[in-house]
Structure formats: structure tokens, C-alpha cells
């Protein structure tokens, strides 16, 4: 990694730990990016604002949800045109009723990403303007990207087709 990027990383870490003495849990190195920030979901909205307004990460590229069985991870990837690099923001949520504040107020592009994460990984985004099914049919009661959801060969399933 370049020296300037490492410098920026150290700078970011210092500023964030000063700004969020409790919620900011650390900045891990992550190859090819400025690193991965671990944060407490309680400070989500303030952190997003800080990251966007102060540190100029104005483009939210991806929101991913990962099911680690005993916990759920929600991962935001943001990009800065100023620093020319990605930054990952990761929060660990409990497996029971995982929820986090929505990022749509900060990055409007989070809208569909969060809808998708909500229906596939079952992470609720509080105060989301339009939390309904995006990819799956309305009213689908499973969350396919959870580890507990198993795939089957079609022969193992009974297919009942009802003409409507």
C-alpha cells in the first residue's frame, strides 16, 4: 500500500477515535482499500454523516449482509473521489432481531441495497422509507441468504402448480 494511503488511514483512525470514543471499535487493514472500520451500530448515523461530510466519501458502492450464524455483519463500502479509494464500514449485529439505522438519509443510493439486504439476510433498517420486497415475491417468508436456509435439488421438492 502506498505511503500516502497509510498516512490517510492513520489520520482517519485518529480522527474517528477522537470523534467517537465509544462507538468506534477500530480500523483493520484490508488489502486494496483504506481499511475496514468496525463500529457499534448505535453510532451508525453519526458515523455515516461524519464519513460522508468530513472525510468526503460521497459514494456508497455496496451494502452487504453476511450471516455468521451467531451474529450478522452488515458491511458498507464507500468510495471517495477525493482520496480515490474504498473504505469498508462493518457493524456486527446480534442474530436475534438484527437492526441498524438506515443509511438512506446520508446516501440515497442505499435504498435498494438495504431493501435487498433486508429480504435476503433479514437485517432490519430502521426508518427506511420503503422497506418492502425487491427481488423476492411480496410476502415471501424466508430469508435465503441465511446459513440455515438450505438448497435442494428440485426432485426433492414437491412442486404444486395452481393455475390462476
Amino acid at each position: 500500500m502506498e505511503a500516502s494511503a497509510r498516512l490517510f488511514q492513520r489520520d482517519l483512525m485518529g480522527k474517528l477515535s477522537k470523534r467517537f470514543p465509544t462507538g468506534f471499535l477500530g480500523l483493520d487493514p484490508f488489502p486494496g482499500t483504506f481499511g475496514r472500520i468496525r463500529f457499534d451500530p448505535a453510532i451508525a448515523l453519526e458515523l455515516f454523516r461524519e464519513i460522508r461530510d468530513v472525510h468526503a466519501f460521497e459514494h456508497l458502492a455496496m451494502v452487504a449482509g453476511i450471516d455468521w450464524v451467531e451474529r450478522r455483519e452488515v458491511l458498507y463500502t464507500v468510495w471517495s473521489d477525493v482520496h480515490r479509494g474504498y473504505l469498508l464500514l462493518s457493524a456486527m449485529l446480534p442474530a436475534e432481531r438484527p437492526h441498524i439505522e438506515t443509511a438512506t438519509t446520508v446516501w440515497p443510493s442505499a435504498n435498494w441495497h438495504e431493501r435487498e439486504t433486508w429480504e435476503l439476510v433479514d437485517i432490519t433498517f430502521d426508518h427506511h422509507p420503503d422497506l418492502r420486497n425487491l427481488l423476492l415475491p411480496t410476502g415471501y417468508q424466508f430469508h435465503p441468504l441465511l446459513r440455515s436456509f438450505k438448497l435442494h435439488e428440485p426432485e426433492e421438492l414437491e412442486v404444486k402448480v395452481r393455475h390462476v
Binding site: L136, P137, F149, L151, P154, V159, H163
Partner: protein, 206 residues
């Protein structure tokens, strides 16, 4: 003329050999009369409009020999598929209408409205979310209509058959006439499938 009209339908002729008892040569060497002729003879005695019944049989023959070939020829040579792209195969479907393969040579012209189509080419993965819309489209097409399952996904789910959202084969939803293998099938394969369907239509009796 009577108020009601009954039509006599010829029954299939029973096998003559089966009439003879087993292990014994039949005494009569002359072939028996075809069953429907006997029916007609009897009918002439008992049914007043047997002549019309015979006429309807002739009309049926004429329809068989004259009209149906023309209709089948027309149906075979003018298949309008629905302009609907589902997934990967849709791109090859479009390529088949491109300059190199030019499916219009065979009179295959895609139309956007299902009402004007007689061929539904299911060119891609069918998910449960789109399943009832596919059935609606199929039902909107006027008879006679045909379905081609293009590619492995439409045939049996393909690489996504284990997925929770994919219909493992479109024949669970609509009757399929021709299956085309490939993932995706090349445009030649699609044309081959269409020609196969044309052969099926040519031999159609209904």
C-alpha cells in the same frame, strides 16, 4: 328432417385375428368387412339420416386431405414468436434475428403483443415470481399456439435448478412442444428447434 341430428362416428376396427379362438385356424378365409361399413349398412336400415353421416365422413376426409394440409403449411411457415427476453438465451434469440442467421428467412417474425403470436419461446430462466405472468401470456395467445423451451433453464432449471426462486423447467407451467438444449443454445440450435417444430406442425392432425 328431424329436429335432432346424430352423427355416426366410425369405431376403430377390431383385429380380426383376435376374433378367432386361440389354437384354431379361422374357417373363413375371406377378410371380414371393415367395421364401419357394417355400421353404415346397419345405420341405413335403422337411422334415417345415415347418408348425411356418410357425407360428414366424406367432408372429414376432404378436410383431412385438402384443407388441413393448407392450414398446416400456412401455420408451419408463418410462426410469430413473442418478443420477450427472459435471460441469457434472449440475447441468442436476438442474434438469431440478426444479419448472420436471419430467422425471417423462415417467416419467423417476432411480435410484441401476445395476441398476434403463435409461438412462445421461453428463452431463459423462469422464476416463480414471473411464472403466473408467463401463464397469462400463454393464455393470451390465440389458438393454435406452440411453446419452445429454449435452453437448459427453461428445460429443467439449468445451472439454477437448485435455487429457491427458479421453476425447474417451464413444462411445469405450460405445455412444451420442443426443447432445445444448450446454455445458451447457439442461434443455429434455435433455428433447428424452429424447423423441428415446423415438421411437427406439418404432421399435425387435430
Amino acid at each position: 328432417m328431424t329436429g335432432t341430428s346424430t352423427t355416426v362416428v366410425p369405431k376403430p376396427r377390431p383385429p380380426i385375428e383376435a376374433a378367432a379362438p386361440a389354437g384354431e385356424l379361422p374357417m373363413v378365409t375371406q377378410p371380414a368387412l371393415p367395421f364401419f361399413e357394417i355400421e353404415t349398412l346397419r345405420a341405413e336400415q335403422f337411422i334415417p339420416n345415415a347418408k348425411e353421416a356418410l357425407g360428414s365422413m366424406i367432408a372429414e376426409q376432404a378436410q383431412d386431405k385438402l384443407i388441413r394440409p393448407v392450414f398446416n403449411w400456412a401455420g408451419r411457415n408463418s410462426l410469430f414468436p413473442l418478443h420477450w427476453g427472459l435471460a441469457c438465451c434472449a440475447i441468442e434469440f436476438a442474434a438469431a434475428f440478426g444479419a448472420r442467421w436471419d430467422a425471417e428467412r423462415f417467416g419467423v417474425v417476432p411480435r410484441s403483443s401476445p395476441r398476434q403470436c403463435d409461438l412462445l419461446i421461453v428463452n431463459g430462466t423462469v422464476t416463480w415470481k414471473v411464472a403466473h405472468k408467463l401463464i397469462t401470456l400463454y393464455e393470451q395467445m390465440p389458438e393454435p399456439k406452440w411453446v419452445i423451451a429454449m435452453g437448459n433453464c427453461a428445460t429443467g432449471g439449468g445451472p439454477f435448478r437448485t435455487a429457491y426462486s427458479v421453476v425447474p423447467g417451464v413444462d411445469k407451467l405450460v405445455p412444451v412442444d420442443v426443447y432445445i438444449a444448450g446454455c445458451p443454445p447457439r442461434p443455429e440450435a434455435l433455428l433447428d428447434g424452429i424447423l423441428l417444430l415446423e415438421r411437427l406442425i406439418q404432421e399435425r392432425r387435430e
